[in-house]
Symmetry: C2
Subunit: 145 residues, 2 copies
Amino acid sequence: MPRACSIARALDILGEKWSLLVIRELLLGCHRFNEIQANTGAPRDILSDRLRTLVEHGVVERVPYQQHPPRDEYHLTESGTALFGAITLLREWGDTYCGDPPIQFTHKCGHELETRLICAHCEQPVTNRNVRRILPGAPPGSPAR
Amino acid sequence: MPRACSIARALDILGEKWSLLVIRELLLGCHRFNEIQANTGAPRDILSDRLRTLVEHGVVERVPYQQHPPRDEYHLTESGTALFGAITLLREWGDTYCGDPPIQFTHKCGHELETRLICAHCEQPVTNRNVRRILPGAPPGSPAR
């Protein structure tokens, strides 16, 4: 039996290049089908399909911007906007390991953007070595795979 | 022309459910083909193909664990291990928006894991509203799409 896992569930919605690039465009402020298509390079039929899936799962919503003829644009919902962190860390990974960064980002403090993932409680870094998985039904402290 | 983008480059390697679930398994300490296959539910031929791609891109490496007959297991390289943050934020997103979290995580401080993405310089939160993109050739401060 495959693991019950939130990563797998998330990727059932997002798990493919085009969906995450659509989220990127919406985060960048591009909301119309044609600009999303041009900026991602997604084939139009695939893009329609991915947008429909994202709308069905409540990650994206359609917002009318014109009445005659009726036209919608696409906006992130709360859950869609919440993908910002995952997208940012994927981008940083690409910047580090997939060649020269094509775009620079700065934080509002003025520095080039460089992020840290920390624990909301102790404010120390979160790494694969300092988190522990608690499997359903397992007593705390048992080996967690 | 599609945007030059590190997210797109990263997803050229990772952009599909199975590759990221393989990274999940390796982060969890499962290194052998059969356990990765069982824990992801990936079809064997697709799993072989995704592992080959990840090895070719230096995200995963093969490590022999038996001589007769020769058998390899799979380990994350430095770049593979660096996907921990992106995977963690995808998992948290799934925990929040895709139903009850199937597994709990704790940080070494003892609290249930809850992360914050902060700027390494000013230590303030990083959000889509407080980062600015600097497009190649654009003067600082110009609108960034």
